[in-house]
Amino acid sequence: MNHSIAVRERSRATLLKRFFSIKAVSRIAAFLPPAALVFATAILFAEALPAIKYNGLGFLTHTQWRPGNFYVNPVTTNGVTHPVGALYGALPLILGTLESSVLALVIAVPVSIGAALIIVEKLPDHLSQTVGLFLEVLAGIPSVIFGLWGTLTLGPMLARDVFPLISQIVPNIAFFKFFKGNTGHGEGLLTSGIVLAIMVIPIIASTSRDLLRQVPRLTKEGGAALGFTDWETNRWISLPWIRTGLIGASVLGLARALGETMAVAMTSGAVLGANPSNAFLPMTTIAATIVSQLDSALTDATGLATRTLAEGALLLTLIALATNIAARLLVRRVSSTALPVGRGI
C-alpha cells in the first residue's frame, strides 16, 4: 500500500517536472519571434545610425539619391564622415513601395476572392483540387522568374497592347490622371504592380479558399432557403463570415508585396530618384533600391552608402510593422460587429 503510494507520488513528481519543462520550452519558443524582430531591428538601427544622423528628416522628404563623389577626400558633418555632395532622399522609394504594393493588392484581392469563391462553390471536387495544386505551385515559383517574365514578356506586351488602351479609356479627372499620358516601354509602376499581384494572388486565394470552406453549410442554406441568389449568399453570408480572415490574408499578401525585391527590381525600371508622373513610367522601391545599389554602395569608403541602405531597410521594416498593426486594429473593429467571438479567423 505505502509502496504504491510512493510510486504514484514519484511518477507524479516526474510528470510535474516534465510538464514544467514543456511549459518552459514553449514559453521560450513563444518569445523567439518577438525577440528576433527586436534583435533584427536593433541591429539595423545600430547599422543605420550614422546615416540617420547625416540624412536627418530629409531622408523622408527629399527626392534625390546622390551618393556623392567617392574620388575626392571625404568630409565630416555632424560627426559623420561622408563623400562630398552625398544627399539621400528616399521619398520616391517610399512612394514607389506603397504605390506598387497597394496597386498589387487592389488587383489581387478581388481576383483572389473571386477565384476562391469559384473554387469552393462552383468547381467539382477534382477540378478544385487541380486548381489548388496550381495555386501552390504558383506560390512556390522563385520571384526572379516572375521578374524575368515580367521584364521580357509581360512588360513589353502591356506597353504595346494594354497600356495605350487604359490610357484612352480612363476619364481625365483627379485620381485617374495618373493613368494617362506617356505609356512607356513596359517597365514601371503598373507592370510591377501587376507582377506583384500575380505573385500574391496564390497567397490570398488559397487562404481565402481555406476560410470559405469553414463557412457552415447550414448558414449558407439559410440564405438559399430565403430565396437568395448565389451572389447574395456569397456577399451577405460567406464573405462577411470570414471577413477578419480575409483582412489577415490581404495583409499577408501586402507584406509579401512590400518586401518583394527581385521581381520589382527587374520590372520597375529601378530608376533611382524616379518620381513617375504616371503609372506606366519607371519607378523604384526601397527593396529594389537596396538590391540594385548594394554593389556600388560597397565602393563608398566612408560607409555612408551602405548605412543609408540599412536605413532604408529599417524604414521598410517599420512600414511592414505599421501595416500589421493597422490590420490588427481593423480586424478588431470589424469582428466586433457581427461575428461570433473567436470565429472567422
Partner: protein, 277 residues
C-alpha cells in the same frame, strides 16, 4: 403505405375543417406530392409518397431517425436540388403546378415556401439586418420601410423587447432560443405561404419551445405549416394532420387525433406509444 391518397386527404381535411371556423375548399391543397421517390446515389430514402397539405393546415411529420423526413421536407422547396447524388422521381405540386416546371422561378418559390432549420442559423450581420435580409433580397419594400418591418416581425415573434436596444449588435450573442426566434422572424418577413420546419424546437429550452409553438398556432391558417418533429407531444399539441414515415415509406397519414389514438397500422401504434425509436 397509403393506397387511396385522395380519399385520405378528403378525410383529413374534414377533420381539420370541423375544428375551425374557416371554411376551406376540400380541394384546396397548397402542396401535394405525386409518387415522390427520393434518394442519394444508389440508395432510395423514401419511395412513392403521395401526400397533400390543405391550405392553412398544420401537418406534423413523425417517424424514427433516418426515415427520410428531412429529405422529404427539404425537397418541398428544392433545397435538395444541388445536393450531391440526390435523385428524384415523381413530382411536387405547389398551387397545382410542378415546382420544377420551367414556369416556376426558384427564388420566387422559396419566397412562397420558407424554411426553418433544426439549429438556428443567423447570418453574420446585425440583428436588424438579419430580419430584413430576405426583404432586401426580394426587393419587397422601400428602404424607408425596412426598420418598421424589422420591428413588426420582431414583435410578432416576441423578441422585440429583448433586442430593442441592441438591434445593431451581433445575433450570435443571443441565446439559442432567441436566435431561432430571430430566424423565424426572418422567414416571416418575406411573407411565405408555407413554412417548412425541421425539428425547429429540438435544440430549445421549454420556454422557447412554447413560444415557437404558440407562434405557429397564431400564424395558422394564414400560413400552412409542415413540421418535422421528434416530440410526439408537440405533434399532438399543434398539428391538424400527422404523417408517419417509417422505413422509407409513408406508413400512415390522417388527422392527428386519429393517428395518435386509433392508428390503423401496428407500426404506427408502436411508434406513437413510445415503443419504437
Amino acid at each position: 403505405m397509403i393506397q387511396q391518397g385522395e380519399h385520405v386527404n378528403v378525410q383529413s381535411f374534414d377533420a381539420l375543417a370541423s375544428g375551425s371556423d374557416n371554411h376551406l375548399e376540400p380541394t384546396d391543397l397548397i402542396v401535394s406530392t405525386k409518387e415522390l421517390s427520393l434518394g442519394f446515389g444508389q440508395k432510395t430514402v423514401i419511395a412513392d409518397i403521395d401526400l397533400s397539405f390543405p391550405r392553412g393546415s398544420i401537418t406534423a411529420l413523425i417517424g424514427p431517425s433516418g426515415s427520410g423526413k428531412t429529405t422529404f421536407l427539404r425537397t418541398l422547396n428544392r433545397m435538395n436540388d444541388n445536393v450531391k447524388g440526390f435523385t428524384r422521381t415523381g413530382d411536387v405540386l405547389f398551387n397545382s403546378e410542378s415546382i420544377w416546371s420551367p414556369n416556376i422561378d426558384l427564388l420566387a418559390l422559396r419566397r412562397r415556401v420558407g424554411m426553418l432549420f433544426q439549429r438556428a442559423n443567423p447570418f453574420p450581420m446585425s440583428i436588424e439586418q438579419n430580419v430584413i435580409a430576405g426583404v432586401k433580397a426580394h426587393n419587397i419594400a422601400k428602404k424607408s420601410q425596412l426598420k418598421q418591418i424589422a420591428k413588426m416581425r420582431l414583435e410578432e415573434v416576441g423578441l422585440w423587447q429583448a433586442v430593442e436596444t441592441r438591434l445593431h449588435d451581433s445575433p450570435f450573442r443571443l441565446s439559442g432560443g432567441q436566435q431561432q426566434l430571430l430566424c423565424l422572424a426572418r422567414a416571416l418577413a418575406i411573407g411565405p405561404d408555407v413554412l417548412l420546419l425541421d425539428e425547429p424546437t429540438s435544440a430549445l429550452d421549454p420556454t422557447s419551445i412554447e413560444a415557437v409553438e404558440n407562434l405557429i398556432l397564431s400564424l395558422s391558417p394564414a400560413i400552412t405549416f409542415i413540421v418535422v418533429t421528434h416530440n410526439l407531444a408537440q405533434a399532438r399539441r399543434i398539428s391538424h394532420n400527422t404523417a408517419f414515415f417509417f422505413e422509407g415509406q409513408l406508413t400512415e397519414y390522417g388527422p392527428t387525433k386519429h393517428i395518435f389514438e386509433d392508428p390503423s397500422r401496428p407500426e404506427t401504434q408502436r411508434y406513437v406509444s413510445g415503443r419504437m425509436g
